[in-house]
Symmetry: C2
Subunit: 351 residues, 2 copies
């Protein structure tokens, strides 16, 4: 490999890289129903059911900072972010495996705390820890979790199933995990400048919990079933609303319009964002790590979810040629940019 042929990872970006590396993936096994390109892979289980598989890693210094991340919460979060991918396929999560790399500076008791979080998540989400491996690392902590689930074949919801004019729905609220991170980073800076000053985290409980100990929306799948609503396309909000809208639009070959004033943003997020000189809508669009579900429903299902406190209609799908837009409070259309999180151009971040 000669120097002049080198392309940096910053140049190509996360999505470009994944496309490049997986484009040679071939389907050789009849049991592979759907491979790379959705929240989870879909594998034949039996005549009626499929197995769902999803993998995600949390890396020290990239996804979390040991300075303000309790290990129990970290273990919990590593599981939850993977279960969220299974739920985003409209599936039931059943098992996980955990692959851990850890430097010898961690004492046994630290790993017990981490696993306490893993076991707690297993209990709350009713999944079994069935395997994995533990090895050392030269530096830092890395947790890679694989979640395994199942779904009825005809109930799997892909990113590609949305149709023009269908409604775009998001669960819970957005931007809180991002603002939680900003608060933690601010207090870290204050502490670094003067270790005698105690961190001031009073009143930020909701934001901190959303960042440090997020939950996956297993409950929403149950609500939807009770309401007899089947989403036509679905994804979980890990990289931020804009990025997830981009995925749904790309895979469903559509455009979209979402409305600034419809975005579900908690009051605490808005006030903290304003304190930090950030537009609350930007937190919702690009903050990420909300682990809410973003999905589309048929127009005729609107009445079934109207007024539901867990779900908000934020817009609708348009034709592919119409592009991706947010309509602001003045009625102006602002084109959405698919950002994703490009970790490759960040030297150090808590995200």
């Amino acid at each position: 490999m000669s120097e002049d042929k080198r392309t940096s990872l910053e140049e190509i970006g996360e999505f470009g890289l994944i496309d490049l590396l997986t484009k040679k993936a071939k389907k050789r096994q009849d049991s592979t129903i759907f491979g790379v390109g959705d929240d989870a892979a879909v594998i034949e289980k039996n005549a009626d059911d499929v197995t769902l598989v999803s993998t995600d890693s949390l890396i020290e210094g990239i996804h979390f900072n040991m300075m303000y991340t309790p290990l129990k919460h970290l273990g919990y979060k590593a599981v939850v972010v993977n279960l969220s991918d299974i739920y985003a396929m409209n599936g039931t999560a059943e098992q996980i495996t955990v692959s851990l790399a850890v430097s010898s500076r961690f004492p046994k008791e630290a790993l017990e705390e981490l696993y306490d979080g893993i076991h707690t998540a297993c209990e709350i989400y009713n999944v079994d820890l069935v395997g994995g491996d533990t090895t050392s690392s030269l530096a830092g902590l890395m947790i890679s979790v694989t979640a395994i689930g199942s779904a009825k074949k005809d109930e799997v919801v892909y990113r590609s199933g949305a149709k023009e004019n269908e409604l775009i729905v998001v669960t819970g609220d957005l931007g809180a995990a991002y603002m939680g991170l900003q608060v933690l980073e601010r207090e870290k800076s204050v502490y670094k400048a003067n270790p005698d000053i105690q961190p001031d985290l009073d009143g930020f409980d909701y934001l901190l919990e959303r960042q440090l100990k997020p939950e996956a929306r297993k409950d929403v799948l149950k609500f939807l079933k009770e309401l007899d609503v089947k989403p036509t396309a679905m994804i979980d909000v890990s990289d931020g609303l804009a990025s997830e809208l981009f995925h749904l639009c790309k895979n469903s070959e559509l455009g979209c319009q979402v409305y600034d004033e419809k975005l579900p943003i908690d009051t605490k997020v808005s006030t903290t964002a304003i304190d930090f000189n950030v537009d609350p809508a930007t937190c919702a669009l690009n903050g990420g790590e909300d682990y809410e579900l973003l999905f589309s429903i048929k127009q005729e299902d609107f009445d079934k979810i109207k007024g539901n406190p867990h779900m908000t209609v934020i817009g609708h799908f348009t034709s592919k040629d119409s592009g991706l837009y947010m309509i602001d409070k003045q009625g102006s259309a602002i084109e959405l940019k698919a950002q994703g999180w490009n970790h490759f151009n960040k030297e150090e971040t808590g995200k």
Copy 2:
């Protein structure tokens, strides 16, 4: 967590740590047939079949050294070591997911080489790459692979199925990957001392290939089926023969006797080991990374595999109280120690 309660990972060791962290794992899902404690987890698929899941990571500076590891081989090896776990359950590997953490110092072209190896392994072993994630790391390269396979329910072979007096069989030969690593480490030291001296790797092809580009013994499962031999217990040789014997004996509640003179060791391994002042039998027992299969068969199946060039009978299982022994060429019984690889007390190693 107070300082005085801290226990280092060196003290507890790899196996102790895994036991400690997974002892709280509970079975909540009916679909979980077997969890932690074998080469792969076993999950209900349908009335006749099970799904097998196994995860393993390769970490830079711990499992490989970038100085002498071609990226294409590394990608290949990361897949193969996981497929080996599926074969060790007597299953068919069908899919993999790949989770990659990489520092931004790697150019795009380096990751393409790595994925070339991953795709090549997928082609040769007939498996599909169905998912994963790619993120950055603050330092170094980490690849975590999850392999997914299937097997007929009544054909799964566990570590726990062996019986007293059954024969212990190992495939291929042992110790070559370990000696390959010693050769690479020696040439690295020479090069570090004087970068003008070119590494002398002539004549070590077999050892280097076993270290850098191992193969999994999918072929052996086919041979056994053709010979109508079903192993009663099985494991793959990743940590070294002694360690794997320990697992089979522990899970099957047995002791064992293996014979020094029966250990299959390639001539090149013996001669190189002697050059390095290492006992060839020690390489076979504790070297690891052979990715051969170690299994037990009923005595009446001996005639079926006798003389087979791929399999060697190295001893037999005894009662639990009899302990684990190697009988040396003088007829003395040497107690086997379960070493495993304790990465936690190694500062830097290519293993």
